[in-house]
């Protein structure tokens, strides 16, 4: 087996096919490094501007009243590993507008500049390079692994040696896998080097861990396509047929299936549509009913006479509105997440996305990161309100009409005490749990491909007819 492996390795290194593969893969990784060095720098600059503007909203709150009526914007910082997996960081709304005032709802928005005109394109992160280019290289390297030897008449010669077919297959497979893994490692290290040298990336434990997870996932993914290629090459009568079958399968799996998920998902779960109009209508109606019932705040001086009796009713009503509005927004977000998970389910039929989602889960990015952000951002509003309520409670002069700006304490407030938002990372346990499904699909597919290749080789003719 070692002999087969070494022989194949030598063959690979000499072949034009491998050399071109190396160049193409390196080209993509260098491109990735240059593009992301530029992009991460730009995003960091924008984040600085944004932090400044967000912070100024907190600093503008000099009294509790101002703190309650202010509109805060919170954002998730970049994960820092976008060059490995962009995973929706361009499109997921990683920002939230939060107002502690009663009767306002939190709504998700983009954390940074988004180019809607570019929505139909894919990015060029390592995930895309592996999903498309690496799997393609696997096919190009392996499409004539068996059929080529059969056509050249060497298959019969090799198997005349005391060597089982399984050993022959493993030898060839490992040689290909080794060549590709080394190429992949070389490429990704070059990309890392470009990013580190341009100063946008700090090489720390997080990057190393992400790199490791990515690399292992990519190797499994490459193994799957190599085995598939060798299997088909054993079944096919000629190398040309094998190539056509493989490329067509590849296109169907990698390009076509993922592109159908959108439509299937929006047919299974109805899109929420323009829900802002509906929310606005609901809110207007609610407020009009309040006015019609005579529940409106008076001038603070007038209201003091009967200990804010009317205003207490007003605050209670607003609180009711607040609960209802936020509940509706939550329901819509939930609907959107459900719709997206259907699309993910369809995508999982493609090995490319089984790989992508495994690495996304392990790295704690993609939809997992977004879901975490959403949950924590919603909790942040409660924490903010809790803080303001406690502050207001400490002021004996305040009417204690919580979250109605005109009827809260107007004592000065130290704005640096207002709690700020910090995104907590996803714990490793949760990440592993999230990876279970895509990872088992990827492994299962690899094992199936292995048995298919074994079976195909065992039954294949040794010489061309």
């Amino acid at each position: 087996m070692t002999a087969v492996l070494l022989h194949q390795l030598r063959d690979n290194l000499r072949s034009l096919r491998f050399q071109t593969s190396l160049i193409v893969l390196l080209m993509f990784f260098v491109g990735n490094g240059i593009i992301y060095a530029h992009k991460m720098d730009r995003v960091a600059q924008e984040a600085e501007l944004a932090t400044h503007s967000d912070e100024s909203r907190y600093e503008g709150a000099e009294t509790l009243r101002q703190a309650v009526s202010a509109n805060y914007k919170i954002r998730a910082p970049e994960a820092g590993i976008e060059f490995i997996l962009e995973a929706g960081s361009d499109w997921f709304p990683y920002g939230m507008n939060v107002s502690p005032e009663s009767g306002r709802f939190t709504n998700l928005s983009h954390a940074r500049t988004v180019n809607y005109w570019m929505r139909t394109f894919e990015v060029m992160d390592w995930g895309v390079i592996v999903r498309y280019v690496l799997s393609f290289l696997c096919i190009v390297l392996s499409y004539n692994a068996i059929s080529g030897e059969r056509e050249g008449g060497t298959l019969r010669l090799v198997l005349a040696n005391p060597l089982s077919r399984g050993q022959f297959l493993m030898g060839k497979f490992l040689a290909h896998l080794l060549t590709l893994s080394v190429t992949l490692m070389l490429g990704s290290l070059i990309s890392l080097a470009i990013l580190a040298l341009s100063g946008v990336l700090e090489l720390n434990g997080m990057v190393a861990r992400s790199y490791l997870f990515f690399f292992v996932g990519a190797v499994f993914y490459a193994a799957l396509f190599l085995l598939l290629g060798m299997g088909i090459s054993a079944v096919a009568r000629t190398s040309a047929t094998s190539l056509v079958v493989l490329i067509m399968t590849w296109t169907a799996l990698i390009v076509v299936i993922p592109q159908t998920s959108y439509l299937i998902a929006i047919r299974v779960v109805e899109p929420a549509g323009f829900y802002f109009d509906q929310l606005e209508d609901f809110e207007n109606q609610f407020r009009e009913t309040m006015v019609a019932e005579g529940i409106a705040p008076r001038q603070p001086e007038l209201a003091r006479v009967d200990a804010y009796a009317l205003e207490h009713r007003y605050a209670a009503k607003l609180n009711e509105l607040d609960g209802e509005l936020n509940q509706r927004v939550r329901a819509i977000e939930q609907n959107n997440l459900r719709q997206f998970s259907i699309a993910r389910g369809v995508n999982l039929l493609s090995p490319g996305f089984a790989f992508q989602y495994t690495v996304e889960a392990l790295l704690g990015t993609g939809i997992h990161r977004f879901r975490t952000f959403r949950d924590q951002a919603n909790q942040y509003r409660s924490a903010l309100r809790e803080f303001l309520r406690a502050r207001d409670g400490a002021d004996p002069d305040s009417p204690h009409l919580f979250f109605v700006p005109d009827f809260m304490s107007d004592k000065p407030l130290d704005s640096s005490l207002i709690p700020r938002f910090h995104l907590q990372p996803i714990p490793l346990g949760e990440r592993l749990a999230a990876a279970v499904v895509p990872l088992s699909i990827l492994l299962l597919e690899t094992v199936l491909a292995f048995f298919f290749a074994m079976h195909a080789l065992n039954r294949s003719e040794l010489a061309a007819p």
Binding site: P93, T113, W117, Y262, E288, G294
Partner: protein
């Protein structure tokens, strides 16, 4: 010559690889069109729902500030085959007094933002990737492969000019490629025709015919390129390696490579800058109104009491109404002025983003595959440039709409915010007699007046004088679809490159083959 072509045809069509590829291509093309067609129906439904809602809301409006002037257009029928930037959804231009639109939006953009990471398939992608791959597979060993098998020598020993052999290969190859393509195209067309929602109209049929020709030309171009590679190399495996990687870089690489490159070439400015400007403008407006109010003090609060529903004011006292009318006139003029400046700020901010997206389209000519894809978008009128054109028409329409309201005096006669007829009895007929305590919302006086207003409101629904007369309102009638001539104008560079590459590669093959050693 004909014998040579027939030989090529038979050689190509009878191979297993063409059979396999044919089945795959047809299945995927049909699937892509089916998906597109279903998506089209979905989007047509949501367009109908959205525009129906819009019309409902507008027909209920009795004041001009309740009119939503948004213009919406249905999806393009040919987007089923070629989604492009616009996709199969309808488009809308959203604008108002305060906002000058920059671009048209897809009506399906109301689908959640999460879904935007997903890419969708169409017929033209299947042709661009799969059929072009088939062209590569048919062409790469057509010359060097025959040399290796020794058949080339045999053929050239016959008294045929070498040029004829190359031409025969070219024609035979293109015809064999057209078989799977025509099959997929006809089946896709049948799927489109079977969907009653898809109404082909105007020059759509002509465009479909051009799409057919364009696709054949594209396949001929790719085949000719791989034939050239085959003539430039000595053995089939080298030719295959070159062709495969060429196809990968041109086809897959460019999908993500071009946008990344154009992102690199353009500096995206932060949205914060623009949003800060917008905040400043809003403050400026508020300050302007405060200044105006300090020079034009409002009448006492009792004069200003009215019933305010859906930002529509009723039963105000004439004195209060008059003050509000003048205040509104001042405010609307300020808003119109600020809208133009806001547009400048936003465009300054978005222009790089826009040119970034345009760059992808203009750089698409670098790769034969993306060039073809962009050409089909332009032909189907779903390219970015078609979207921006509709946005421009929306901007023009906004001006007409504002002119119309200005002519009717809407901004100054109070019709903007109130629908009261001139002789309307006010909510508080004698404001002089009302004290401040009576104005409290829970006082018996106010409760009684509110009850009166509510009763009036119920009757007002049947009052014809409150209805808006919108018969003369200018409708959006712009030619938002490009004519065939205009489409050709933007397709010209891409078409020229396509033909140039085709011609050049065929010429190179011809010359190279003249001195090709068949040994």
């Amino acid at each position: 010559m004909w014998i040579l072509i027939r030989k090529e045809l038979l050689e190509n069509l009878l191979t297993l690889r063409l059979g396999v590829a044919l089945v795959f291509c047809v299945i995927l093309a049909v699937m892509a069109t089916l998906i597109g067609s279903l998506d089209y129906s979905n989007n047509l439904d949501s367009y109908a729902a959205e525009s129906g809602n819009l019309n409902d809301r507008n027909s209920q409006a009795t004041t001009y500030n309740r009119i939503d002037p948004t213009i919406m257009v249905p999806p393009m029928p040919l987007s089923v085959l070629s989604r492009g930037n616009v996709s199969t959804s309808g488009q809308g231009v959203f604008f108002g007094l305060d906002y000058v639109p920059i671009t048209a939006w897809s009506l399906s953009d109301s689908v959640s933002r999460l879904m935007k990471v997903l890419v969708q398939i169409d017929f033209s992608t299947v042709v661009a990737l799969l059929l072009s791959f088939l062209a590569v597979v048919l062409g790469f060993d057509s010359i060097c492969g025959e040399r290796q098998r020794g058949t080339l020598k045999e053929m050239l020993s016959n008294p045929v000019p070498r040029g004829h052999v190359v031409l025969a290969k070219l024609v035979g190859g293109v015809i064999s490629l057209c078989v799977p393509f025509t099959l997929s195209f006809v089946l896709s067309l049948l799927i489109m025709l079977a969907n009653p929602d898809i109404q082909l109209e105007g020059d759509d049929w002509l465009r479909l015919a051009i799409l057919f020709g364009l696709s054949c030309l594209f396949l001929a171009q790719i085949f000719s390129l791989s034939l050239m590679v085959s003539a430039l190399t000595r053995d089939a495996s080298t030719a295959l390696t070159i062709c495969l990687f060429g196809w990968l870089v041109a086809g897959i690489g460019y999908v993500s490579f071009l946008p990344s490159m154009s992102r690199y070439g353009v500096d995206e400015p932060s949205a914060e800058i623009w949003l800060d400007h917008i905040r400043d403008l809003r403050e400026e407006r508020e300050q302007h109104m405060e200044e105006w109010e300090s020079t034009h003090p409002p009448p006492p609060p009792a004069y200003l009491q009215s019933l305010e529903r859906k930002s529509r004011v009723r039963y105000a006292h004439p004195v209060g109404f008059d003050w509000q009318r003048r205040r509104t006139e001042e405010e609307l003029n300020k808003r119109l002025e600020i809208a133009d400046r806001g547009y400048d700020y936003q465009w300054e901010n978005w222009k790089p983003l826009n040119s970034e997206a345009h760059l992808v389209d203009s750089w698409a000519i670098l790769s034969p595959v993306t060039n073809y894809q962009v050409l089909t978008y332009q032909l189907a009128r779903t390219s970015l440039s078609d979207r921006m054109r509709f946005g421009q028409l929306g901007r023009d329409y906004r001006r007409t709409w504002i002119e119309y309201m200005r002519d009717k005096g809407v901004f100054s006669n109070g019709r903007w915010f109130s629908d009261d007829p001139a002789d309307q009895e006010p909510m508080i007929p004698d404001p002089e007699a009302v004290t401040e305590a009576m104005l409290s919302p829970d006082s018996p006086f106010m409760q009684a007046r509110m009850a009166w207003a509510e009763a009036q409101e119920l009757q007002a629904a049947e009052d014809g004088r409150r209805q808006l007369d919108l018969t003369n309102m200018p409708k959006f009638g712009g030619r938002w679809k490009r004519t065939l001539g205009e489409s050709f104008e933007i397709m010209m560079p891409g078409l020229l490159v396509l033909i140039l590459i085709f011609g050049l590669s065929a010429l190179v093959t011809l010359f190279r083959f003249d001195t090709y050693d068949p040994q």
